[in-house]
C-alpha cells in the first residue's frame, strides 16, 4: 500500500488521503516504524512542483488578506481591545464626518478658495501619513518584513501588499472616505471633478507608500546602535521647524489667515501639495501647471517606491541580523550595582538606572523632554506664559514615565517575582532611579523658565509645585502601575514598534492618571497662584514647603500601597505583561 503510493507520485493528494483510511495501517509490510512515514524517505521520483511563483498581485492580495486576518484576530482577542478600537474608530469617524461636511460646503465656494483649502488639507494629510509612523511610534508592524523573510516573496509583491494592507485598518479606511469627500468639493466644475478622480488615487498612493517607506527606512535605522541620536535629531529638527509656525499662530489668527494663500501657493509646488492642486488647474485651464504638478507627484511616488523597495530589501536581508550581532563593548565590573546600597531597592534602582541609560525604550521617552522644552520656548512669545507650564509639564511626564516600567520588563519581571522582591522595594527602587534622572531635567527646565521670565522671587513656589508633581505623581504611578499596565514594545524591540492591543482606551486611562497626578499637586499650585496674585513672599515659601511635604507623603503612601498590591498580585501582573508582544 505504502509502496504503491511512493511509486505513484502523480496521484492526486485527495486520493492519497483516501488511501489512509482508518484501519489501513500503512507501512506494515515496508516500514515497521510508523514514525518514519513512507513519504519522507528519500525518493528520487520527480513529482510536479507544488510551489510556484504566484506573481506580485496575488502576493499583495494574500498579504493584504493576512493583514485583515490579523486585524480581526487582534480585535476579537479581547473585548476591551474591541471596545477601545470601536471607540477610537467612532472618534475618528466623527472627525472625518466634520471634515466631510466642511469639504462638501467647500464645493459651493469660489475656485480659488477650494484650491487653497484642498492644497492645505491635502498636504496635512500626507504629512500625517508620512510623519506619524516616525514621530508617534505608531508604525504598523503587522506586515513586518523580518517576519516574512523566510517566504519566497518578491519585493514588488511585498511593497504592493504593504500598500494595500495600509488601507486595511481605521486610518486607511478613513483616508479613503475623506478622499471621496474631497472629490465632491470639486463639484463646481465637471472637468475638475473628472481630473480629481485620478488625483485622489495618486494622493492615496502617495500617502500609503510614503508611510510604508518611512516605516521601512525607520526599521533599518532602528536596528542600528545610533537609533536614538537619529530619532532625536529628527524630532528636534521637526520641533525647531514647528516653533516658528506656532509663534506665527501666536501673533494672531488674522495674520495667519492672510498667510494661507501664500503657503498654499508654495505647497502646491512641493510633493506634499502638488497633487491636490491639479483639479483646480484643470478647471481654470492651466494645463501646463497641471502636468508639471502631476509630474512632481509621480516622481515623488517613484522615489518613494524605490526607497521602500531598498529599505525592505535591506530589512529582509538583515532579518536575523539583530540576533547574531555582538557589538556592545565589554564592561568591567558591575557598574552601577556597586554605587547603590546592597539591598533589594538599591539593586532595583541600579538596574532601572542602567536601563534608563541603555534601553532605547527609556531613552526615547527622555528625548521628548528637550523637544517639549524647545516647543514651549518657541510658543512663549512675549508673555512667556508657556514657560510657566514647562517645568510642571516636565515633572509630570517624568513622574508618569515609570508607569510603563513593569510592561517594559515583560517576562524578565519573573526574576522579581521569584526572588521575591518585596513590593515596596520594587516600587521604591524604580522611583529612586526615575528621580535620579528626573531631578536634573526638572532643574534644567526651571533654569529655562528663570531665563525666560526673570522671576527669581517666584522660584521657591515653582520648586514647590514641581516637587509636588514629581514626588506625588511618582506615588500615584507607583500605586496605579501595580494594578494597571498597558502594552509596550517588548524588550529588544524598537521603541518605534506598536505593541499589539494598544487602543484609545489605554490612552484615555493614561490621561486620567496624568489628570489625577496634576490634581493631587493642586495645593502647591494654588499657593503659587496666590503668591503671584498677592506678591507676599510668605505664600511662595509656603508653596515650597507644602509641595515638598505633600509630595513626600504621597510618595510614601504610594510606595507602601503599591508595594502591598504588588505583593498580592505579582504573579497576575507577570502574566499580564507577559502577554505584551
Amino acid at each position: 500500500m505504502a509502496a504503491s503510493r511512493v511509486n505513484d507520485p502523480h496521484e492526486s493528494p485527495a486520493s492519497r488521503h483516501l488511501d489512509t483510511a482508518p484501519g489501513d495501517v500503512p507501512g506494515q509490510d515496508v516500514a515497521p516504524d510508523a514514525a518514519v512515514p513512507a513519504s519522507v524517505r528519500p525518493s528520487h521520483g520527480s513529482g510536479e512542483p507544488v510551489t510556484r511563483n504566484i506573481g506580485p498581485f496575488e502576493e499583495a492580495r494574500r498579504l493584504a488578506g493576512l493583514k485583515w486576518r490579523i486585524l480581526i484576530n487582534t480585535l476579537t482577542r479581547s473585548t476591551w481591545i474591541l471596545v477601545g478600537t470601536i471607540l477610537g474608530g467612532l472618534y475618528a469617524l466623527f472627525i472625518v464626518g466634520m471634515a466631510l461636511t466642511a469639504l462638501f460646503a467647500l464645493g459651493s465656494e469660489a475656485l480659488e478658495t477650494v484650491i487653497i483649502a484642498s492644497v492645505l488639507v491635502g498636504s496635512l494629510l500626507l504629512m500625517g501619513w508620512w510623519l506619524v509612523p516616525l514621530v508617534s511610534s505608531k508604525a504598523d508592524s503587522t506586515l513586518d518584513p523580518s517576519r516574512l523573510a523566510l517566504f519566497p516573496l518578491s519585493t514588488t509583491g511585498l511593497v504592493a501588499g504593504q500598500v494595500v494592507g495600509a488601507v486595511i485598518g481605521i486610518p486607511g479606511v478613513l483616508t479613503v472616505i475623506a478622499l471621496l469627500g474631497w472629490l465632491f468639493s470639486w463639484r463646481g466644475s465637471t472637468t475638475a471633478l473628472v481630473a480629481a478622480i485620478p488625483c485622489a488615487i495618486i494622493g492615496a498612493l502617495l500617502a500609503f507608500v510614503g508611510s510604508r517607506c518611512v516605516t521601512a527606512l525607520g526599521a533599518n535605522f532602528a536596528k542600528g546602535r545610533r537609533t536614538n541620536e537619529i530619532i532625536s535629531m529628527v524630532v528636534l529638527v521637526l520641533v525647531v521647524l514647528l516653533g516658528p509656525l506656532i509663534s506665527l499662530f501666536a501673533t494672531g489668527l488674522g495674520q495667519v489667515w492672510q498667510m494661507l494663500p501664500t503657503w498654499a501657493g508654495v505647497l502646491a509646488w512641493t510633493p506634499l501639495g502638488a497633487i491636490w492642486a491639479v483639479p483646480g488647474d484643470v478647471a481654470s485651464g492651466h494645463w501646463l501647471a497641471a502636468l508639471a504638478r502631476i509630474a512632481i507627484s509621480l516622481v515623488t511616488l517613484v522615489v518613494l517606491v524605490v526607497a521602500t523597495r531598498a529599505g525592505l530589501r535591506r530589512a529582509l536581508g538583515d532579518a536575523a541580523g539583530g540576533a547574531a550581532r555582538a557589538t556592545s563593548r565589554a564592561q568591567e565590573g558591575v557598574g552601577l550595582f556597586d554605587r547603590f546600597p546592597a539591598n533589594q531597592w538599591g539593586a532595583v534602582a541600579a538596574r532601572c538606572l542602567t536601563y534608563w541609560r541603555k534601553d532605547p525604550r527609556y531613552s526615547a521617552s527622555l528625548l521628548m523632554i528637550p523637544a517639549i522644552g524647545a516647543a514651549f520656548w518657541f510658543i512663549a512669545g512675549d508673555s512667556g506664559f508657556s514657560l510657566w507650564a514647562l517645568p510642571l509639564f516636565v515633572s509630570l511626564l517624568m513622574a508618569y514615565a515609570i508607569s510603563a516600567d513593569v510592561s517594559y520588563d515583560n517576562t524578565a519581571f519573573s526574576l522579581h517575582v521569584l526572588a521575591p522582591v518585596s513590593g515596596r522595594a520594587d516600587r521604591l527602587g524604580r522611583v529612586v532611579a526615575m528621580l535620579i534622572v528626573a531631578v536634573p531635567l526638572v532643574l534644567l527646565s526651571i533654569v529655562l523658565w528663570l531665563v525666560g521670565v526673570q522671576r527669581w522671587d517666584a522660584l521657591p513656589a515653582m520648586v514647590g509645585v514641581c516637587a509636588g508633581i514629581l514626588l506625588g505623581g511618582a506615588g500615584v504611578v507607583s500605586v496605579v502601575s501595580a494594578r494597571y499596565t498597558y502594552p509596550t514594545p517588548p524588550p529588544g524591540a524598537s521603541p518605534m514598534k506598536t505593541p499589539q492591543g494598544f487602543t484609545i482606551l489605554n490612552l484615555v486611562v493614561q490621561f486620567v492618571i496624568m489628570g489625577l497626578m496634576a490634581l493631587l499637586a493642586l495645593p502647591a499650585g494654588i499657593l503659587l497662584i496666590v503668591y503671584l496674585v498677592t506678591g507676599a513672599a510668605l505664600w511662595g515659601w509656603l508653596a515650597l514647603v507644602v509641595g515638598i511635604v505633600e509630595g513626600l507623603v504621597l510618595l510614601w503612601i504610594g510606595v507602601r500601597m503599591g508595594g502591598k498590591w504588588l505583593d498580592a498580585r505579582g504573579p497576575e501582573l507577570l502574566q499580564e505583561v507577559a502577554a505584551y508582544r
Binding site: 492519497r16 513519504s39 524517505r41 565589554a330 558591575v334 539593586a347 521569584l418
Partner: protein
C-alpha cells in the same frame, strides 16, 4: 512505587543504617525556632544521619512518614515512597490550572513528590502541562486549585509557596522557560542583580558571581550585554542567576535547550555535584535520553495529568524511558501518516 532503597541510580539517598526511617518535617510539630546547623547540612551522603544526632527535638515526637500533606486518594504512592527516602524537597498537591473558561485544564490535579537530593525529571510532550505545573510550583502562576510545599534544609519544615511566598521562594532557584532576562545588563551584572535581589551580601555576591561565570565558561562574555549572547549562553547565564543564592531546590524548565554539548556536560556535572551535596534538581524536558541518563527520578505528564512517577527504574520497568514514555502517552502510530506529501520534489 515502593521504596527505591537499593536502586543503582539512587545510591546517595539510602537512609543511614539504623535510622529507622526519617523524621518528618511536620509543620505541626516542628518548632520555628529550632537552631540550625552552621555546617553544611548536605555534606555527607545519607544526609539524614548526622542530622538526627544533633536534633534538638525528641526523635519520637514526629509521625513516621514525611509528607503530612500527602493525601492517599490522590497520591497513593507517596506514603510508601517517603517511608524509605528522607524528606521531601517539593510536594505538589492536586495542582490544577484552568486558563480562562476553557474546558480542559492545563494541569489537572497534578501530584508530584520530589524527594530531597533527587535529580528529578519531568517529561511530557509539547503542551503536556510541564511548564504550567512548574510555573505554579515556583510561584509564577497562581493555581486554580491545589497547593505546593517546598522543603528547605533537612530540618526546615515544608512551606506553602502560595501562603508564605517570601520564605518559600528563597529556597528555590528557578530557570523559567522562555522568559526574557534583563538583557541590557551585562552577564556579570545580571547575576549580581539576582544575588542582590535576594538580599545577599555584596562581597558574597561578587565572589559567587565570578565562580558561577567560570563554572558556566562565560569569562569572555561576562562583560557584554546579555542581549548579545547566543541562545545557549543566555541559558547558561540565566542558570547562573538562578543558582547564586545556593537554593536547596533548583527548578529548571528546559535547561539544556540550545546549549552546546560541552557546556551541557559541564552543567550536568555541576548539577550532579549539587544533588550529591543534598540539593534537589527538578528539570523538565522532552529529550528522553537526556532525562534517562541524568535523572534518578522521573514523572511522566500528558494532557495536564501525571501518568507515572517514581524512580527511574520503577517508571521505566526495564524498558528505555523513550519506549516507556510512548507506551504511556501513546499516539505514536499516527505520527507522519498525514504527511504523505512531505518529500523533496
Amino acid at each position: 512505587m515502593s521504596s527505591p532503597v537499593n536502586g543503582p541510580t539512587t545510591p546517595r539517598r539510602e537512609p543511614a543504617p539504623g535510622a529507622g526511617g526519617p523524621v518528618a518535617n511536620d509543620p505541626s510539630t516542628e518548632q520555628q525556632g529550632t537552631p540550625r546547623h552552621a555546617t553544611p547540612q548536605y555534606a555527607a551522603p545519607g544526609d539524614s544521619a548526622p542530622h538526627y544526632a544533633t536534633s534538638h527535638r525528641a526523635p519520637g515526637s514526629a509521625p513516621q512518614h514525611a509528607a503530612p500533606h500527602a493525601t492517599a486518594q490522590h497520591a497513593p504512592r507517596d506514603a510508601a515512597q517517603h517511608s524509605g527516602t528522607g524528606t521531601t524537597a517539593l510536594a505538589v498537591r492536586d495542582l490544577t490550572k484552568f486558563y480562562g473558561q476553557s474546558g480542559r485544564p492545563a494541569a489537572d490535579h497534578v501530584n508530584l513528590t520530589v524527594p530531597r537530593g533527587s535529580f528529578y525529571g519531568l517529561v511530557g510532550r509539547n503542551g503536556a502541562g510541564k511548564t504550567t505545573t512548574l510555573s505554579m510550583a515556583t510561584g509564577l502562576l497562581r493555581p486554580s486549585a491545589g497547593s505546593v510545599l517546598v522543603g528547605g534544609g533537612s530540618r526546615d519544615e515544608l512551606l506553602d509557596v502560595w501562603r508564605d511566598p517570601v520564605t518559600a521562594k528563597r529556597r528555590m532557584g528557578v530557570l523559567p522557560d522562555g522568559a526574557h532576562l534583563f538583557d541590557r545588563l551585562t552577564g556579570r551584572q545580571l547575576v549580581t542583580y539576582s544575588g542582590l535581589l535576594r538580599g545577599m551580601d555584596r562581597d558574597l555576591v561578587a565572589q559567587r558571581t565570578e565562580d558561577l561565570i567560570v563554572a558556566m565558561d562565560l569569562q569572555d562574555a561576562a562583560g557584554r550585554q546579555v542581549q548579545d549572547y547566543s541562545a545557549g549562553m543566555t541559558k547558561k547565564i540565566a542558570l547562573a542567576a538562578a543558582m547564586i543564592h545556593a537554593p536547596s531546590l533548583l527548578v529548571l524548565d528546559e535547561p539544556f535547550e540550545s546549549v552546546d554539548p560541552v557546556s551541557a556536560a559541564n552543567i550536568r556535572s555541576l548539577l550532579h555535584q549539587y544533588t550529591n551535596s543534598g540539593g534537589t534538581v527538578v528539570v523538565s524536558s522532552h529529550v528522553m535520553d537526556l532525562v534517562q541518563r541524568m535523572c534518578d527520578h522521573v514523572a511522566v505528564m500528558d494532557q495536564g495529568r501525571v501518568l507515572a512517577q517514581g524512580t527511574m527504574d520503577e517508571v521505566c520497568a526495564g524498558m528505555s524511558l523513550e519506549d516507556r514514555f510512548v507506551s504511556f502517552v501513546g499516539g505514536r502510530t499516527e505520527a507522519g501518516e498525514g504527511l504523505q506529501w512531505l518529500r523533496p520534489e
